[in-house]
Subunit: 417 residues, 2 copies
């Protein structure tokens, strides 16, 4: 798309944002219910479009993991529809009054939740992001511009048809949700410069894409960056639970950003624990360790290099490091962590509380799997992603992360002295 066409898209989004911000909450909820209904009604059409995307991806020789993320079937489509219906049913956020107070001069002050305005979402393969993002943005009273992956273009167009049908049924402009067929980087670079028309850009995808957006953007960017998640097995850990938690954080879904990538083992228990961990994970999971982990783990543990401490494997590979106590574990996380999720396993409450306090990652956990760093699991409902940018949304980001507050002041003639 050329620059004037992109600008027109953003101008239409700005105009739609003004409309959707002002309508009664019931209108937004109605639109979401209608969207869920339209997805259900158009299921056959959506699945057929998706089958064409999958066939093209197979012909093009895309990686099986990528094709799996792209694929929709009846249960996945039902899950996607349920997510929209749940967002429709959740309490309204826009207009929520926070912290009202009356000042000594009689001014009544409150903060009121308002939409951000226009949100630009840049993402890759998974078609469910199209409806999740559209639904969360609408819930929060925003207009959105979606730039999905090229490999999902037929699926996204079919889903957008359902979204537009729902918007029309609720009397809202279709321009509340627009999908731009932008595939070249130059056009993305133009889009993220439109600071007068776009309030926030959320890039979610590969490292290269996120770097490109950050380097070119004039609009604020909330990065949904990589998850190099750690589990620290403290000396006072319940070792049986630790084995179960580590297996859960790695094996069922290694492609998740909240899967564990590095396990730090306290040296006090390493001789005892490392062999048990190796037995529990190998050969399903490839293990890469430092010298001590290799010593205790035997030949099933390959030598790790510096690159392994930085790696987000997204695969059945796990790095192991034996650390000399709490401070060494924290130092490792500060050096190699990605501000996503870290968990400590320990029965010592004082140590657990210190970990929760001192680790600055967006989700910090004691005695549970890193896989709980997820909007649904943390009670946010659906999520638009997991922010690793320390702005208003840090960690799993739901509809509330797509709003801000304004100050509302009610007076009766006050002037400032």
């Amino acid at each position: 798309m050329t620059q004037p066409l992109l600008r027109k898209v953003a101008e239409d989004a700005r105009a739609a944002a003004r409309v959707v911000a002002k309508v009664a909450p019931g209108t937004r909820a109605l639109a979401l219910e209608e969207i869920a209904g339209a997805i259900k009604a158009r299921a056959a059409e959506i699945l057929a479009a998706n089958a064409r995307d999958v066939a093209a991806a197979e012909t093009a020789g895309l990686a099986p993991a990528m094709i799996d993320r792209l694929r929709l079937d009846a249960p996945r489509l039902a899950g996607l529809t349920r997510a929209v219906a749940e967002i429709a049913a959740a309490p309204d956020i826009v207009g929520r009054v926070e912290r009202p107070e009356v000042r000594p001069n009689g001014l009544a002050i409150s903060r009121v939740r308002i939409p951000l305005g226009v949100v630009l979402m840049i993402y890759e393969a998974r078609p469910n992001v199209t409806t999740d993002a559209a639904a969360l943005c609408l819930k929060a009273g925003n207009a959105c511009i979606l730039r999905g992956g090229r490999e999902a273009s037929e699926s996204n167009r079919a889903l957008l048809g359902a979204v537009h049908a729902g918007l029309r049924a609720a009397g809202l402009p279709e321009t509340c949700v627009q999908l731009v067929p932008v595939t070249d980087r130059e056009a993305i670079a133009e889009l993220v410069k439109l600071e007068d028309l776009i309030d926030l850009c959320i890039p979610r995808g590969g490292e290269g894409l996120i770097r490109f957006v950050t380097e070119n953007a004039r609009v604020p960017v909330i990065k949904h960056y990589k998850g190099v998640c750690h589990i620290y097995v403290h000396a006072a850990a319940d070792q049986d639970k630790a084995l179960e938690i580590i297996a859960n954080a790695k094996i069922p879904k290694p492609s998740a950003c909240n899967a564990v990538e590095t396990v730090l083992i306290d040296k006090e228990i390493a001789a005892d624990f490392v062999p048990k961990l190796v037995a529990a994970l190998s050969p399903k999971v490839e293990l890469r360790g430092d010298a001590a982990a290799q010593r205790y783990g035997g030949d099933k543990v390959r030598a790790a290099t510096e690159d392994d401490w930085h790696a987000e494997y997204l695969d059945w590979i796990l790095a192991l490091r034996v650390v000399d106590g709490f401070d060494a574990a924290i130092a490792h996380i500060e050096t190699y962590g990605s501000d996503h999720t870290e968990s400590i396993l320990t029965k010592d409450e004082a140590v657990a509380e210190r970990f929760l306090r001192e680790v600055g990652s967006s989700t910090v956990i004691v005695n549970a799997s890193t896989r709980f760093a997820d909007g649904g699991e943390l009670g946010l409902g659906a999520e638009i992603g997991i922010s690793t940018t320390r702005l208003h949304a840090y960690g799993p980001m739901g509809a509330e992360g797509l709003t801000t507050t304004k100050f509302v002041v009610r007076g009766n003639g006050q002037v400032r002295s």
Copy 2:
């Protein structure tokens, strides 16, 4: 400063941020009290340094308004010290637990306030910003890099000496607050690209500076942009109060960003109200109006041009426009407003509520002066500025705006099913 030197400053800030985020709340409060004490103890030295800045500014022929902003005297220095002491005494924010809940699987979830990390503040003449910004950043557990105006360099260095003395007395590294003598734009451009070391940039100053930062930044930017503030005098306004409020919003401090720049007068009362407004403001305030305002206001109202609707005069000049009802007033604000502050004057509560709901500016007011858009007046304590960026901080931004939250999860062995 060269690029490696700037990087060193930011690396030192990152290291200091790790320290100041983790210390006990009492340590940050102690540092702030010690800073207030050190400013008091060094008052003579600070005032002498400021006198040198003022003398140089006079020699250089700076505008009187600029010199006034630069000048410190004993009462102003006392005010600046009091601001630091008040920030010290305010309740602690870092570590505050928000919205705790227990999930059905027994996980105890809460959000905990944490610092942003490293804040880069770019500002101009006023030396009080140096201590306000340093104190607010410290309160919120952040390290900060300050880039003040060249014209205030001696004052800022003297104030920084007091800040460092306070940090030392509390056992905190001096690198918690650094002042960079960067005056060329190229160096600023380098600084705002250090996204791995700086979490937020707050530019506060002229339009050119803010544009330059936005265009060059890779770090998130919260803009403290211009205040084109409106007062809409509705048909049902109390006209005597309206005259008083408009005079208050313009005359005592026209250089404030929350001063009114355009008054919109409902056409139903224009013939009655405009002459009274002109009598109340002229000749102290120069008036520029549309054709209707000129018709009712007589020859004291000059013709306004399109530029006047966009203008942040920061002077005793006021634009007047007669509008055809509520929707026309909203349309004018949406076209020309700067998301700063707008006020409606009316006795009609339904109209007032509609205005508060529909206007998306960061502060919306009914029946009071726009001058209340201020951190102190709204109960935030001191403010680091007024954000016109719709991120977590929108409107007056205090210490809380310099924090975010992380998710804290306490389990007892939970794995994800």
